[in-house]
């Protein structure tokens, strides 16, 4: 009876520890997800893709110096929170820009308002209209008083009501979009995989099919394993030292660019792809190789007709790992491609990936955790979609081959 209880005790203890630690890990992972979604969900908005990152400031002024007041009432019902100046016929409301900061936006403008059409002070003879997507920065009056948007929309409209002529309206276009960074990230994934997969698979084939157990191959293998543990920032230095000068010499690039970034990422990916592919080549049954050779196929034919097709699911698994690595990489990319956010993406110009975009947001003063979390959610979605696509392809390959047995 004593033995039995002791065993129960130990079993229970070990089980308890297992459950405890597994729940700690699940809770931690869950907490990270909850945090990211909690912080970032509010800023998820299609405008993040629709609007560019760069914003421009426009200085506008009424067309006529001696403006007549509108003194008109809105012909539609205004929402709550809209402050309307009947003298000028405009209503403003508070809003949030793409970065999550409070702004003042145009809510309504009366057709007869003197502000319905403005002249652009920066460019001669250029008229423009106020749009709801412009963020109102400040309005200056001819008596030299200025009302600033950041003091609140209510105060701004009150000051507007009490002024007699408007000297200047400063607006900025909506900016802070992340479309450019998304495109850069997709480019990086495509280019890096395009470079790293053929090279990595080729190296794995050499190691597993040709070199096998030679001293040289074993040395190479342990070297590759060491490379897997090298911090990526060192590969970033390699990018700066080799790939940036190389691309500058060969293309019209002038500094870090998408190609040098992809090359650097390819080097980071190589050890992973070589190792995963070699593992998957190893598990291709030796029976298949024997059968092929006994049929009078050459070694190369055996490799490419039997071994590689059977290792494809494993090679696709290395692609999955690779995508994760590309999307998650930031340290090396800061060096190899730069952290400058761009809207127009060209292969030979600086731009930045989503991960580095987060880095830029977090190094701003103050750090923008909300937008960073939003970008994190977008990264998660991109990785999820790519994973599903590859799983789908993998299943397609496995179907038609391995039904039933093995």
């Amino acid at each position: 009876m004593f033995k039995l209880t002791r065993r129960y005790l130990f079993d229970g203890l070990l089980q308890g520890i297992t459950f405890l630690f597994s729940s700690i890990s699940f809770l931690t992972l869950g907490a990270i997800l909850v945090f990211v979604f909690n912080q970032g969900w509010s800023l998820i908005n299609i405008d993040l893709i629709r609007y560019p990152y760069e914003s421009t400031t426009i200085l506008g002024a009424p067309l006529d110096e001696q403006t007549e007041f509108c003194l008109c009432e809105p012909n539609i019902a205004l929402d709550e929170g809209v402050f309307y100046s009947s003298k000028w016929g405009v209503g403003f409301e508070e809003g949030v820009d793409l970065l999550g900061q409070a702004t003042v936006q145009l809510a309504y403008i009366h057709p007869e308002s003197p502000l319905a059409s403005l002249k652009n002070k920066g460019i001669e003879d250029n008229e423009f209209v106020l749009l709801p997507e412009y963020l109102i920065q400040k309005i200056s009056y001819n008596d030299r008083a200025t009302s600033l948007a950041r003091r609140g929309v209510e105060r701004m409209v009150n000051e507007l009501e009490s002024s007699n002529s408007i000297f200047e309206i400063e607006v900025i276009t909506k900016g802070g979009g992340i479309g450019g960074s998304i495109i850069t990230t997709l480019w990086l994934i495509a280019l890096t995989l395009l470079i790293a997969i053929p090279v990595g698979v080729g190296a794995a084939l050499y190691l597993n099919e040709y070199a096998q157990k030679s001293q040289f191959a074993n040395g190479l293998r342990s070297f590759i394993e060491t490379l897997t543990g090298v911090p990526s920032i060192i590969f970033g230095l390699l990018g700066v030292a080799i790939f940036i000068p190389l691309t500058v010499a060969l293309t019209d690039a002038t500094g870090g660019n998408l190609i040098s970034g992809s090359l650097t990422l390819s080097v980071i990916l190589l050890p992973i792809i070589i190792r995963t592919t070699e593992e998957s080549l190893k598990v291709v049954p030796v029976d298949y190789r024997n059968a092929s050779l006994a049929l009078g196929a050459s070694r190369t034919q055996t490799t490419f007709k039997v071994v590689v097709p059977n290792a494809l699911p494993g090679i696709l698994a290395s692609v999955l790992l690779g995508i994760g690595r590309i999307v998650g990489e930031s340290a090396a990319l800061i060096f190899a491609i730069g952290s400058i956010v761009r809207d127009e993406i060209t292969l030979t110009d600086k731009s930045t990936s989503l991960a580095v975009h987060i880095y830029s947001m977090m190094t701003d003063e103050p750090a923008n955790i909300e937008l960073s979390s939003t970008i994190a959610i977008i990264i998660l979605v991109i990785v999820l979609i790519l994973n599903l696509i590859i799983k789908f392809i993998s299943n397609k390959i496995m179907k038609g081959k391995l039904v039933g047995v093995i």
Partner: protein, 251 residues
């Protein structure tokens, strides 16, 4: 009968271990030669020297001569691919490729040159008919080969080897992974195939050797103890060791 294989003083070493000792064996055309003996006696090793499948194992040294139709198999000038084209092989465990039945049979020919679809269709059909599998699979040639039962898979492997139109079929315990009914089918097939092909079969079952072979070679610890016409071998073995093996005193 015409000689097809001839080995003279064949010695084979795995590293320092001698696996075959001075083997002198002649194999005749269009007959079945059975290689028997207890596990580890070198019979499979011998079979694999005939089409140079031992090349794939590191640290193998071979001394002596193997002649196939008066070609020295281990001569440096001999093209190993040509040898393997002319000597088909069937393995212990059915090992069809994870592709369709059709592609399995067409694999060997496709490796040699490009065929028109018509030629290939005819070749695949002919090979499957020869291996007595055609009737069972004719409606599902594009289905995965791994859907077939073990016995069918083994006959598919035979069809795959036959598609190369070899002169010889080497079989390494082709029925050891199969149930008795599938085994009987394969044995029937071997007897049928012997009309056109030379067959060398390694088997663990003395009954099988007695049923299907014309000549039996008994191996023990790397030595070739006795080669004899099968009926004579099993009724009046010359060597006392053969006799004790046949009567089940060891093995």
């Amino acid at each position: 009968m015409k000689k097809i294989f001839d080995t003279q003083n064949l010695n084979l070493f795995y590293g320092k271990n001698q696996a075959l000792k001075n083997i002198n064996l002649t194999i005749y055309e269009k007959s079945v030669t059975a290689l028997i003996g207890p596990s580890g006696c070198g019979k499979s090793t011998f079979l694999r020297t005939l089409n140079r499948m031992n090349d794939l194992i590191p640290n193998v040294t071979i001394q002596g001569g193997v002649w196939f139709n008066n070609i020295s198999v281990y001569d440096k000038k001999t093209d190993v691919i040509d040898i393997r084209k002319r000597i088909g092989m069937v393995f212990q465990k059915p090992n069809p490729f994870p592709m369709s039945i059709y592609d399995n049979v067409a694999y060997g020919p496709r490796c040699q040159r490009s065929y028109s679809k018509k030629e290939l269709d005819a070749l695949v059909k002919e090979s499957l008919v020869k291996s007595a599998l055609y009737e069972e699979v004719k409606d599902r040639l594009q289905r995965p080969a791994l859907e077939l039962s073990g016995g069918q898979q083994q006959r598919l492997c035979i069809a795959r080897a036959l598609a190369m139109n070899p002169e010889v079929l080497l079989m390494d315990e082709p029925t050891s992974a199969l149930d008795p009914i599938a085994t009987a089918k394969i044995e029937e097939l071997i007897v049928e195939l012997k009309k056109n092909y030379t067959i060398v079969i390694v088997t663990h079952s003395m009954q099988q050797a007695a049923r299907i072979s014309d000549q039996t070679a008994f191996f023990l610890l790397g030595d070739l103890i006795e080669v004899e016409e099968t009926r004579t071998f099993f009724s009046t073995p010359k060597d006392p060791r053969s006799e004790s093996y046949i009567t089940g005193r060891f093995g």
